[in-house]
Amino acid sequence: MRDDRRTRVIVVAFLMIVLCGLLVWAGTLESDPDRNEFPNENDFVMSYDAYVGDRVQVGGTVVETDPVVFVVTTKDGDRMEITAVSFEGDPSVGDEINVYGTLETEQRVIVIDSYTREPWERYYMYAVSFIAGLWVLVRFVRGWRFDRDTFAFKPRTEARAETEEQYG
């Protein structure tokens, strides 16, 4: 590939279009238990009866603890309260739980396995992820520079080495 600005812009634009195509393609895929991809709240909330007896994977926020009841919200904003039957563990109200189990009538799931996350754990995850992003960004800015003539990133150290070679 040539190293001029025009070629680079064209190739990047082309790859971006292919990537967008991939994101659209991914959007057309549906859950399929044959591939071990199980229906979730977005599938069963609006047509509940069709999924009764099926394995589902669903996450939500705990609103009652005895029995464990959690509220799920679909991507369209619809909400449903579901009772987690034979849930192992002792979640508190406000915890986020994720369960895999069998969908039953009367908005119940017979839990096969699950995990619980306290609200602060999610904040921890975001906080350290943000710190990591910042760390790598600082390293990148210190290590690399953007060359406007060729629209390319070059290592700062090697740019210095080149200059030294040229000007002694």
Partner: protein, 174 residues
């Protein structure tokens, strides 16, 4: 996804370990590997602008999750590779790909209640393989373990470099 700190530290460990064998892997190149490890989590753009908002806005199917798959990550790595001059291209491709692969490998071991990993190998296959995950992305110990490993390779590299510097004045700091 494990937390990004774990991914960045894991990529740092891999890149610095490789730098013992490949001396051209200096600090800027270690950074590239760390950036590669963050590529799959670009899918978290969805926290700001969800796939559903895009679907509703444009009227077409859409899923950010594709970025967190082999296919989406590979294309992202290619974009990164094109953004450097041709002299650096092979190195940058290799490091971005190693970083992204380390991310997907680590995430394969995330605990899922169903016992099946996410379809990260898509579009090669969208089959979800059975795997015994053993950690959550909000667990603290993965970052701790990778942090300790990072400190070890960092010290080892410093020691290695200073002993090299005694022989020559080469700059191979990480």
């Amino acid at each position: 996804m494990a937390d990004l700190l774990t991914h960045a530290l894991a990529a740092y460990v891999i890149a610095v370990a490789l730098s013992f064998r490949y001396e051209w892997i200096t600090a800027p190149y270690v950074t590239v590997c760390m950036m590669g490890s963050m590529i799959p989590d670009m899918t978290k753009i969805s926290l700001v602008l969800s796939s559903e908002q895009i679907e509703a806005g444009l009227g077409i199917p859409f899923d950010w999750y594709a970025l967190h798959t082999v296919g989406g990550s590979f294309l992202s790595v290619l974009i990164g590779t094109v953004l450097v001059p041709s002299a650096y291209r092979k190195r940058i491709f290799a490091l971005l790909a190693i970083g992204a692969a380390s991310h997907i490998l680590l995430d394969a071991f995330l605990f899922k209640p169903s016992g099946y990993m996410s379809p990260m190998l898509w579009p090669l296959t969208d089959y979800q393989f059975s795997i015994d995950g053993f950690y959550l992305s909000s667990d603290r110990w993965p970052a701790l373990v990778s942090g300790v490993l990072a400190a070890i390779v960092w010290q080892a590299k410093r020691y290695h470099t200073s002993s090299l510097d005694a022989v020559s004045e080469s700059d191979s700091s990480v």
